[in-house]
Amino acid sequence: MKTVAEFAIAYEQLLDGEGRATAALPAFAADEGQMLAMYRMMVLCRLFDAKAINLQRTGKLGTYAPCTGHEATHVAVGAAMRAEDVLCPVYREYGTQIWRGVTLTEILTYWAGDERGTNFAVPRDDFPWCVPIGSQTPHAAGVAMAFKIRGEPRCAVAYIGDGGTSQGAFHEAVNLAGAQQLPVVFVIVNNGWAISVPASAQTGAQTFAQKGLGNGVPGIQVDGNDVIGVRKVMEDALDRARQGDGPMVVEAVTYRLSDHTTADDASRYRPAAELEAAWKLEPLLRTRRYLTAQGWWDDEREAQLRAECAVRIEEAVHGYQHRSPAGPDHMFEHLFANPPARLAPQRDNARRYGPSALRQH
């Protein structure tokens, strides 16, 4: 027998758990402004997450999907993308979305049960949150197909979780991207858990990155808590795709430090020791150590940043709590550009019997 195909999956880590460089760093890592911008966004996400969970616990927000632990991956992907690229998120990648212009008020509005939160003022072409797992990946492939047809130098980025890679839609999308060499990057955020099912029970594959290879797309694994590593890997993947050299699957290995959502209690299924160990590798701490070692950061700046974030978050909370009420008409609006005749009497009925305003979170 002869070997007709072979594969290897590379693992990238540029910043270790102590915040020390493990290899030569890319130019942006030496740029104080760029590094601080990423760190600031990571801290904003962490604090926003805590606030959103509190709002849910006090009945002011619906079920919320936290992002704590994922900040390095989310922010690095945002920093690597260009404004004209298109993001197809799952539902917890706030770091990427906020970087691209989605507001904290829009995020809170959405999780308050109000779809007006998906009408992003910026970025207009990005997809809204996608709840049916995996179904966002064909959208990204389609967006990338549009870029290819029109010859536009833009890329699509689709997120998916470790559990999501079990969906057929993911493989169908990656397979198309490979067959047509589409400008799309699939980011698998392997956070260890798909609600209660550990990544080890999700697949027999050694890595999630290699799920690209079976579909004709190269895959790479990166330390998802290393903001420099993820950004470098994403910049390379996006450059490659933008030049017409095809798609990439990037597996960012991180850890879901939170529950799946506020409706979940991970202590029922997740070993406490595992969570404790994961906290030692969390992304904010190592980034801060790196910044401190460069002489760019100290406790005073940290305190000032946290105070600024708190103000920004409070403004966002005020924004969503004081938005105009969602009325029954909203169900009927934007259903069709040219609505069928049967809807008007139903809308009138909803006006008559529906609440004048839905209960506001």
Binding site: F120, P128, S135, H139, F147, A179, E333
Partner: protein
Amino acid sequence: MPRVTLVEGINLALARALSDDPDVVVLGEDVGVNGGVFRATAGLQERFGTLRVQDTPLAEGLIAGMSVGMAAQGLKPVAEIQFMGFLYPALDQIANHMARQRNRTRGRLTCPVVIRMPHGGGIHAPEHHSESLEVLLCHHAGLRVLCPTTPARAYGLLLAAIRDPDPVIFLEPTRLYRMARQDVVDDGIALPLDRAEVLREGDDVTLVSWGAMIHETSQAAELLARENIGCEVIDLTSLSPIDHDTILASVAHTGRLVIVHEAARHAGLGAEIAATVAEQALYDLLAPVQRVTGYDTVMPYFALERAYIPSVERICDAVRDTLRA
């Protein structure tokens, strides 16, 4: 003026849309070099290239899902699902995304997609090739569902579907693909959406049908005319929304209604029509509404498909029953 079949009318409309609008993209399994298993896309890839008329990987969920992505970027995908029994994997994308995209983004992202597929049986095809699943689609808000029955209406309605800014499901009666020829002017003029068509006027009973059953329904009306029974035949054409006004006006005139469809009876579209007539025109009725439908069995493999598909005789008997009531 060419005399064309229904499938050739579809081909003419696709070619017209592709040449008029650079945003139109035709995609599906075997739609390229092969020109589609029913030849609906014959010659299009040669004329418009492999990007605008593209063969996709063999995955219906992907075809629908990538269409959502392309549409969000302003393209107008016209996707083909090869047979209606293969619709199921695409339903996730159709129901969860295509039908909802405009509403859930408050109009920011839209989904001007057309999904074409053959509808119904009667051509001795393999299993899963002969389904009539229109209710699965008609139940979803945010979609229009069309089912034209003549070459000219297939041409004009497909153009209307492609130009509509929202998703449209375009069902093509397999049995009628090559049954008849008609003069079709390739003038690029679209027909209005949301309308039923009165095919034949009559005073005694209203027959409502759609898809290939229009053939048997029209034959029944012809036979019954020899018994001096005047049937008004309505081709529903738009399965969602339903043109209830046309049906109600006819029932007000005839006082009797027989609904004929190939799909299974239980929770079929006939029930929706009967319920609306009961709600809005009960006192116009001189007799109970009758339904002549496929049975609540699986669509049988082709040896028995003629036992499943309502026959002219079954329709005639239902009409005679309703006149005796």
